[in-house]
């Protein structure tokens, strides 16, 4: 299992505990009051609230508090997860108060990534809800002296229909606390669900439109100051000396603090801190990594894919089949470094006193922040409490812990609360970039147009390589072939190889969709090339490669070609594949699977060229992510992922010169804006009762659908991301 997968699953089902009694919560937050909020929330559960497990509490007045252990960054977890629990519990949704779980032991390890929130919480939260419901039934049955089996529940009431008696959950809470908890409670079937499947409104919606939602950047603590940091220009550069006299003359600047990799300017307000940072003069010894540039990094990757790599999958005789094939197709693809540019720049607020550290962090990875802060301060993790705030986007950037560690170090040095806030330029320059890739693919096609062999070599400086203790470049690193080794087509001979490089001048990390984005791009453009070589329609050609209902065993999981075939066919139908597109336009298709998210996606893009610039008019996506908990939230997530995919299709690339990233802000690292947003049509086609992941899966298929459409339009085959203005000029 790859590092990526391990890390993403860290916050999944394994971390959830049920069946334990707990005392009243320390956490503060209520519905509409916001996680991490500096003021005590009016909705704090009363201490006598009954807590059958860590995730739910019932107060005597009937309020039901549901704790969310996942971080909210727009995907709607603070609505969808309580929805799952409340449904199983038959709770009155209007009485549900949503609470954000901080890093307390009872909540277990917490992390949000890998599209796992719903699928990983599905079983534990249903169990938590069912346990609570059964205990409430038990309490009512005891009071009425009837059999529990004669009772039912509805909207926060236990009902005994034979006698017409009913008691509310609030009235029963105290007695329910004395009931034993069912270890494996029976769970509802699809037909019995009342909340799952409904488009309930986001619980944070009213606060957001009122401007009252509290993100990390909005945290205010008594006596708090602000800090901006000038960080090393190149990873592991050495701080030689610095001069802060100009910085300290700026009104509002209080002092500077030296950290191992940065100098912090402390001020009474954010702007003074930014101005102070600009006025700092820091001398660095950039070190040997500064010798690298984008060109040298890509040269290494290209060299690597020309040689055999670590073998991830080897089935049939690829070499023999390729050599014997009547048609041989080979192609090389490239994807760049990418920044995340979440709308809310990185920031974190910290307070250190009496050997304890409290943080208010917009983080996807509270447990990692807790552990890394503990290590940096040399205190035990139970002395670190991370409160999770709302986040203005995460996209994987907030899986890192750097913002938390810095804030804790500055707070300790100052002995007062501090908010470390990053300029956009800091946020871009010191990102943990999505790593670049080079892919070399080759395939053989026989006389009847069948694909007989497939080889994919991918080279990339994976984030996993930064873990010097555990990484060995000669061993297979699974993260890099995620989406390559599990190629979703049925081909008799397959060989997948991987290589990676270490010691980059910048940090790399995980970005929404991770390596299946790059590998899916290469796979799906290459398959289009094969279809063209075989003289077949790209849709029919894919369909042929997905024939049969037998699952494909990829070595670490099963893929269901029938599910992919179905979304492919539906997407083609809805997009009018086979009918002439509007004048001047052409269509391209892709189909992708995110195997660990169990989600199947097919997309059709419709494009044109306007003044030699590509324009995407319409994207039709059909998605099988199993049961959809909240259709409206799901549709928004899918649209979001598609816009995200379009952003990375056009113009987005981080380049490096002398070890330093060359991009700064939205002018040189653009994201899609409204005029470029195409019409997007999403259709869900659930192929299983169990929900899969959704935040990431639709990203991967966007670029290839657009590339393939542009090929259909112009006959020009592009193989490098992103598309730039030059690609269609001259």
């Amino acid at each position: 299992m790859s590092i990526a997968r391990r890390e993403f699953l860290a916050g999944g089902a394994a971390g959830l505990l049920v069946g334990v009694f707990f005392n009243a919560p320390l956490a503060r937050a209520a519905q509409l009051a916001v996680p991490g909020s500096a003021t005590p929330a009016a909705g704090d559960p009363p201490t006598q609230a009954w807590a059958p497990n860590a995730w739910v509490q019932v107060a005597p007045n009937g309020d039901i508090y549901i704790w969310v252990g996942k971080s909210e960054m727009g995907q709607g977890v603070r609505t969808a997860l309580p929805q799952i629990l409340a449904d199983e519990m038959d709770a009155d949704w209007s009485r549900v108060r949503v609470e954000q779980a901080p890093t307390l032991p009872k909540f277990g390890p917490m992390g949000t990534g890998g599209s796992t929130s719903v699928m990983g919480s599905w079983d534990p939260l249903r169990k938590a809800g069912a346990q609570a419901r059964l205990a409430l039934i038990g309490a009512a049955a005891q009071r009425w002296r009837v059999k529990p089996g004669e009772c039912s529940t509805f909207n926060s009431y236990v009902i005994h229909s034979a006698s017409g008696k009913r008691l509310s959950y609030g009235e029963l809470a105290e007695e329910a606390a004395r009931q034993p908890l069912e270890e494996s409670p029976a769970l509802k079937g699809a037909a019995q669900r009342t909340l799952v499947g409904k488009s309930l409104d986001r619980v944070d919606g009213p606060a957001i439109v009122a401007g009252k939602a509290q993100y990390g950047i909005d945290v205010r603590r008594p006596n708090m100051v602000f800090a901006a940091l000038e960080r090393w220009p190149v990873v592991e550069a050495e701080l030689l000396s610095y001069n802060d006299s100009a910085a300290r003359r700026i009104p509002g600047v209080l002092q500077t603090v030296k950290l191992p990799h940065a100098v912090a300017v402390i001020a009474t307000n954010t702007w003074a801190a930014f101005e102070g940072q600009r006025a700092l003069k820091v001398r660095w010894n950039p070190g040997p990594r500064a010798l690298q540039s984008t060109g040298s990094i890509f040269a290494l990757m290209h060299q690597s894919v020309r040689q055999p790599g670590n073998v991830a999958r080897d089935e049939g005789n690829e070499e023999g089949a390729f050599q014997a094939a009547s048609k041989k197709v080979e192609a090389v693809y490239e994807t760049p470094f990418l920044a995340h540019v979440a709308m809310e720049p990185m920031n974190c607020t910290a307070e250190v006193s009496n050997g304890h550290c409290t943080l208010w962090a917009p983080t996807q990875n509270p447990t990692r922040v807790q552990m890394d802060v503990a290590k940096a301060l040399d205190i035990s993790p139970d002395k670190v409490l991370v409160n999770v705030t709302l986040m203005g986007g995460g996209f994987g950037r907030r899986l890192e812990s750097d913002y938390g560690v810095e804030a804790a170090l500055v707070a300790r040095a100052l002995g007062r609360p501090v908010q470390v806030i990053w300029t956009r330029e800091d946020d871009v320059r010191h990102d943990a970039f999505r790593p670049p890739t080079v892919h070399a693919l080759r395939a053989g096609i026989d006389g009847s147009g069948q694909v007989v062999s497939w080889r994919h070599r991918v080279s990339s400086p994976t984030p996993a390589a930064q873990d010097k203790k555990h990484f060995d470049a000669r061993k297979l690193e699974g993260s890099v072939v995620d989406g390559a080794s599990d190629v979703h087509y049925r081909i008799p001979a397959i060989r997948i190889e991987q290589s990676t490089h270490e010691d980059l001048p910048v940090r790399v990390g995980w970005l929404r969709g991770v390596y299946p984005n790059q590998n899916g791009f290469a796979n799906e453009v290459f398959v289009d090339e094969l279809a063209a070589a075989a003289g077949q329609d790209p849709f029919e050609f894919r369909r042929g490669l997905l024939a049969g209902d037998e699952p494909i065993d990829t070595g670490h999981g099963k893929l269901y070609p029938a599910r992919l075939r179905r979304v492919l066919e539906l997407a083609a139908e809805r997009a009018g594949w086979g009918t002439p597109p509007p004048k001047g336009r052409a269509r391209g298709i892709s189909c992708t699977v995110l195997d660990w998210a169990h989600t199947y996606v097919s997309q059709v893009a419709e494009v044109s060229l306007e003044n030699q610039l590509p324009r995407v008019h319409r994207i039709v996506a059909v998605i099988d992510c199993g049961t959809v908990v909240n259709p409206e939230l799901a549709r928004m997530q899918a649209e979001s992922a598609i816009i995200f995919g379009l952003s990375m299709t056009f113009d987005q690339a981080v380049t490096i010169r002398n070890g330093e990233p060359q991009q700064h802000n939205f002018y040189d690292f653009p994201v899609l804006r409204m005029p470029q947003a195409p019409l997007i049509e999403i259709h869900f086609a659930p192929g299983s009762d169990r929900p899969g992941g959704l935040g990431e899966p639709p990203v991967a298929g966007v670029s290839p659908a657009v590339f393939n459409a542009l090929f259909a339009l112009t006959g020009k085959r592009l193989r490098r991301l992103p598309i730039t203005a030059e690609d269609f000029q001259g």
Binding site: E72, G205, V209, W271, F274, Q637, S647, L672
Partner: protein
Amino acid sequence: MPKAFALLINGRQFMVAAPAEQPLLWALRDNLGLTGTKFGCGAGLCGACTVHVDGVAMRSCQLQVGHLEGKHITTIEGLAAGSGTGDSRTPHPVQQVWLELGVAQCGYCQVGQIMSATALLASNPHPSDEEIDSSMSGNICRCGTYNTIRKAIHESARRMAEGKPRHAIPAGSGGQR
């Protein structure tokens, strides 16, 4: 010591002690605790910090407090109340539509989107798709809510035309940047 500037914000006067060149954004957020207005780029590129100045949508990260005396500034906190009158707990129709259509994802950009949308509708009560696109092009949404925003602006236009809006809408053009 910095001078104090008299700023008229959401119908109330505030004295802000700050250097004249300090951006309005930070006066709002740090001096006055009005954190509804967001920081996204600090360079006039993203629209997260959009407020109304005399009814026109402007980027508060690009406005210096020293140049704003005597101007009417409206932030999201004052939007519900129109131009200082009315019940501040009744949301502006645009906020209401935003809520009903569930426009927000992470929500971080949405205050800026709402401020731009309200200024647009005040100057152009029935914008076309193209007019919406060009008017809103300065507001980035990294979560990609653009299609829903477009829908929400049309729906707001329809509703605001359906009868006199309950609140005074700030006058002025929907000008950007």
